[in-house]
């Protein structure tokens, strides 16, 4: 054993002393970022569902408008230079920029815009929900998205939705990425509208262009020399696949990369002390939550679900396991969204075993029960689940954790084949409606309806009252009144809702000191604004 201890001691000393070798340097015109890019499976904006690919595609494909880099609640022009709204609020008319051209040489026209949006509905991937949620359907796509002439595009709404919400949710979203329709129709295979071509390539216009993607290895973006907008500062963005957080940290410390995107809490804590490295974070509109299957009478009882909110020591977790990665949040609406409860009111819960026990006893489960808890593979999923498991055990609830690949987790959740589950949900709009429309609204709870894109449906949770109130709030024209309505909905949702939210997740990156400008917000990072010494 002694030999082992000596050896272990050497490991420890070696790890803390650090490398004696000279630091490497990355080229000044290239940003090198380490990230786990295993999730990338396509670059077709109609199909992309992962956070990683979303960020990349928004930097290579311009949409009608763009979330303002300086203010995530506002939008700024992109392919659309300006827009007008009809008096009845049912028609938005976009005027497009002049002189924008695709890499193929084809000019960017309104018919490309219309085709791209219609295509999302025709293909029917998960992203179609972004449009169907606001009343667009594949059947009406041709009359809802219309090219008036080459430079004018019209969007016809079925109801007078708040214009800002439509701009944020659709016009700035990847579903409005403008694709080169003529070029893609040439590449069409079996009526797939270019889906196969776009799996590994891009056909759109943006500050960067996709030069290469090797699955599980690297994504390389190159500056678009013919870009209609301001030229990006970096010539190349290299996103290198590094799955291990530890390896990312080592690469950053050795100067082999500029940015590390998937670091763990302990590594970030250390790096935060390092003068050569800057740790930055942005709160995302993404919540980590525990879901309960309401088809089970135990979990259909509001008090049982409420009891679970008293089974976590939020402060202790946010200082340890979730340091730099999340902040406690119990409201369904993330901080930073229009209508969100403030920080204190949005997180009224704390670890309180007596309270939890009392709620369970009141519900008739004083003797406890047992249930399975499904979790995914995120590094913090297991410690959070074990923390809740231990506290639950003290009030008589026996939780049996089962950790599985994320694909399998989603499959179980969608199929309503679970007892309890822990995962996260992200919304693309800084507006209370973004979360509520999926986490409180359930149009039809029947099994035949198969509304699998609604987490409420997956959890078999249905409330006529919430459906109505959220609809009313959405169309309230008086903003002050609307915000008050949203706040009340959140308070009630916290007591009766189907989910126990624990953390609003932070996007945290560590930057080498060579990176002087790094711009991002809850929804994306802006590669074209990156500057290096």
């Amino acid at each position: 054993m002694n030999r082992f201890w000596n050896f272990a001691g050497c490991v420890a000393v070696a790890a803390f002393v650090g490398a004696p070798t000279a630091l490497a340097e990355t080229p000044t015109d290239t940003l090198i970022m380490a990230r786990n890019i295993d999730a990338i499976s396509t670059f077709d904006p109609a199909q992309i569902g992962e956070v990683v690919t979303n960020e990349i595609v928004l930097n290579i494909c311009d949409s009608l408008v763009e979330i303002d880099p300086e203010d995530e609640a506002a939008v700024v022009p992109s392919i659309a230079k300006d827009w007008t709204v009809s008096d009845d609020g049912l028609k938005i008319t976009f005027n497009l920029v002049e002189g924008a051209a695709f890499p193929s040489g084809n000019p960017v026209t309104a018919s490309d815009v219309a085709w791209s949006l219609q295509r999302v509905l025709t293909l029917g991937f998960g992203n179609a929900a972004t449009l169907t949620e606001y009343g667009f359907t594949a059947e009406n796509a041709e009359t809802d998205f219309v090219a008036i002439d080459d430079a004018t595009f019209e969007m016809n709404l079925s109801r007078p939705y708040p214009v800002m919400l439509i701009l944020q949710a659709i016009a700035a979203n990847r579903v409005a990425n403008v694709l080169d329709s003529k070029y893609l129709m040439d590449k069409e295979v079996d009526g797939d509208l270019g889906n196969k071509y776009l799996t590994t390539q891009s056909a759109c216009v943006g500050p960067y262009a996709l030069r290469q993607w090797n699955a599980g290895e690297v994504v390389i973006l190159e500056a678009n020399e013919n870009y209609y907008g301001p030229a990006p500062k970096m010539n190349r963005i290299i996103i290198r696949h590094v799955a291990e957080a530890q390896a990312q940290r080592l690469l950053l410390e050795q100067g082999d990369i500029d940015v590390a995107r998937d670091l763990g809490a302990e590594d970030l804590r250390d790096l935060n002390e390092n003068p050569d490295i800057e740790v930055v974070s942005a709160p995302m509109h993404q919540l980590y939550y525990m879901g309960f299957n309401n088809a089970d009478p135990k979990f259909a009882d509001d008090r049982v679900r409420l009891a679970f909110k008293y089974l976590m020591d939020y402060d202790a977790m946010s200082e340890t396991v979730m340091a730099f990665l999340g902040m406690p949040r119990a409201s369904v609406v993330p901080l930073g969204a229009l209508g969100a409860l403030d920080e204190a009111e949005g997180q009224p819960f704390s670890l309180d075993l007596d309270k939890a026990k009392a709620l369970l006893t009141e519900a008739g489960y004083g003797d406890g029960f047992s249930a399975r808890l499904f979790i995914g593979t995120l590094p913090y999923a297991s410690p959070i689940a074990q923390h809740v498991q231990e506290n639950a055990a003290q009030v008589g609830i026996d939780l049996e954790i089962e950790q599985m690949a994320n694909a399998q987790l989603f499959s179980a959740f969608r199929g309503r084949e679970f007892d309890t589950v822990m995962l996260s949900w992200q919304t693309a709009v800084p507006h209370a409606h973004g979360m509520l429309s999926r986490h409180a609204v359930n149009p039809d709870n029947s099994a035949e309806a198969s509304l699998t894109m609604f987490p409420t449906w997956r959890a078999s949770w249905f409330s006529e009252d919430f459906n109505r109130r959220i609809d009313e709030a959405l169309f309230e024209r008086d903003e002050a009144k609307q915000i008050e309505m949203y706040k009340q909905i959140q308070r009630d949702h916290m007591q009766k809702g189907p989910f126990a939210y624990s953390f609003q997740l932070l996007d945290t990156a560590a930057l080498s000191k060579a990176v002087t400008t790094w711009k991002w917000n809850a929804f994306r990072a802006y590669y074209s604004d990156v500057e290096k010494d």
Binding site: C10, V11, V13, A14, A15, G18, A19, P20, T26, P27, I32, D38, A39, I40, S41, T42, Q47, I48, G49, G124, F125, G126, N127, A128, A129, T132, K196, T199, T200, N214, A215, G216, E217, V218, I220, I238, R240, H241, V242, A243, E244, Q246, A247, L250, E253, Q254, D256, I257, T377, A405, N406, A407, Q408, F410, S411, R414, S450, L451, T452, M453
Partner: protein, 357 residues
């Protein structure tokens, strides 16, 4: 590697037994039949593993948010609603043409992916093999020649540790000490980012590619990265090879011709290297071939730790991403490699071993 244990040798498919007797034509026919039956079995096994996986390939394509209609359409497109036997026949037909379908995670044909990632594993495994053989054989001979002395015990313990240590753990420790601590070896990954696009890939083996194009700076970078994972893999291979060498040598050293040679006054080392060793060479080739196959297994875990863009990492990622086509393609390929290596070593054995000729 370590999990494979000495079973590797003793459990080599006994194609030999069916080969050994009978005339050449009959032998050949039997071998063909036996190999095709095994391959068909492989197909059945992989097909049913694929069906049993609780992963949903449709969801993996469409995303978590897809509507039920889109889901049903994709089921149809993938042919998953057809009867099982029809799906199986399709699977067999396509597999025989090396068409394993399209990978859900890379959007490219699985076979193309495999051909792309395989050189990385091949390079790693080959270097490991060279190191493992170069060290393992002399150590085994040394142990046999000094049987039951401290040399033998030392070789025994050193090589058994190679069997016993979890390979992923050795990898983590190695990275911490030699990369993070001492800075002796390169970062995880196969090649430096700055070099990645200067290297003209011809063979897919970066050491060779950089050497033939004269990019010695790239060669140094690639070498500094491969040396640690290859050494760790080699340790397992070395353990196996040295144990087997020792065992073969002991058998030879107790033979009468050795005793006779010694009696005639041949020196100890000449008896060992000139009389005994050539007689175990054929057996050793079999051992080396088999441990080469088992390096593939070690690669699954090593590549995960070292961010090595090879076959093992491709397989584990596919498994975690519900990429059924890729998982089945990889499993088939590993099976085929095993069968081929076994067959080759059988044939080799028959051709060169005096006792079977």
């Amino acid at each position: 590697m370590s999990a494979s244990d000495p079973a590797g040798l003793e459990s080599s498919p006994h194609l030999v037994s069916s080969l050994r007797w009978g005339r050449i034509g009959g032998q050949f026919l039997r071998t063909v039949v036996s190999v095709s039956v095994t391959i068909l079995g492989l197909l059945v096994l992989t097909f049913f593993i694929g069906r049993l996986l609780p992963l949903d390939p449709v969801l993996a394509i469409l995303g978590d948010d897809a509507s039920q209609e889109a889901y049903d359409r994709m089921v149809q497109k993938l042919g998953l609603e057809k009867p099982l036997w029809e799906q199986f026949l399709n699977y067999v037909w396509n597999s025989l043409q090396f068409d394993f379908g399209t990978s859900l995670t890379s959007g490219r044909p699985v076979i193309e992916d495999i051909l792309r990632v395989f050189p990385a594993t091949l390079e790693l495994a080959t270097l490991a093999m060279i190191l493992g053989t170069g060290l393992g054989i002399p150590l085994g001979v040394l142990a046999a020649a000094n049987r039951d002395t401290w040399v033998d015990q030392f070789v025994r313990v050193v090589s058994l540790i190679g069997y016993s240590a979890p390979i992923f753990w050795l990898g983590l420790l190695g990275l911490t000490v030699f990369y993070a601590g001492l800075g002796w070896v390169g970062a995880p990954g196969r090649i430096g980012i700055v070099y990645q696009y200067d290297l003209e890939v011809r063979t897919g083996l970066y050491l060779i590619d950089s050497a033939i194009s004269g990019h010695w700076d790239i060669f140094a970078d690639v070498f500094s990265r491969i040396v640690l994972p290859a050494s760790i893999l080699a340790y397992g291979a070395m353990a196996y090879i040295s144990r087997m060498t020792r065992s073969f040598m002991l058998e030879q050293l107790s033979q009468e011709y050795i005793i006779a040679a010694r009696a005639k006054g041949a020196s100890r080392s000449s008896v060992i290297w000139w009389h005994a060793f050539p007689n175990i060479a054929v057996q050793l080739v079999t051992v080396v071939a088999l441990s080469y196959a088992f390096l593939l297994e070690g690669a699954v875990l090593t590549e995960t730790v070292f961010a090595w863009p090879g076959f093992g990492r491709y397989l584990t990622t596919a498994l975690l991403r519900a990429d059924m086509n890729a998982v089945l393609g990889c499993t088939m390929l590993v099976g085929l490699i095993f069968i081929t290596l076994n067959l080759l070593s059988d044939v080799f054995y028959r051709m060169f071993d005096p006792r079977t000729r």
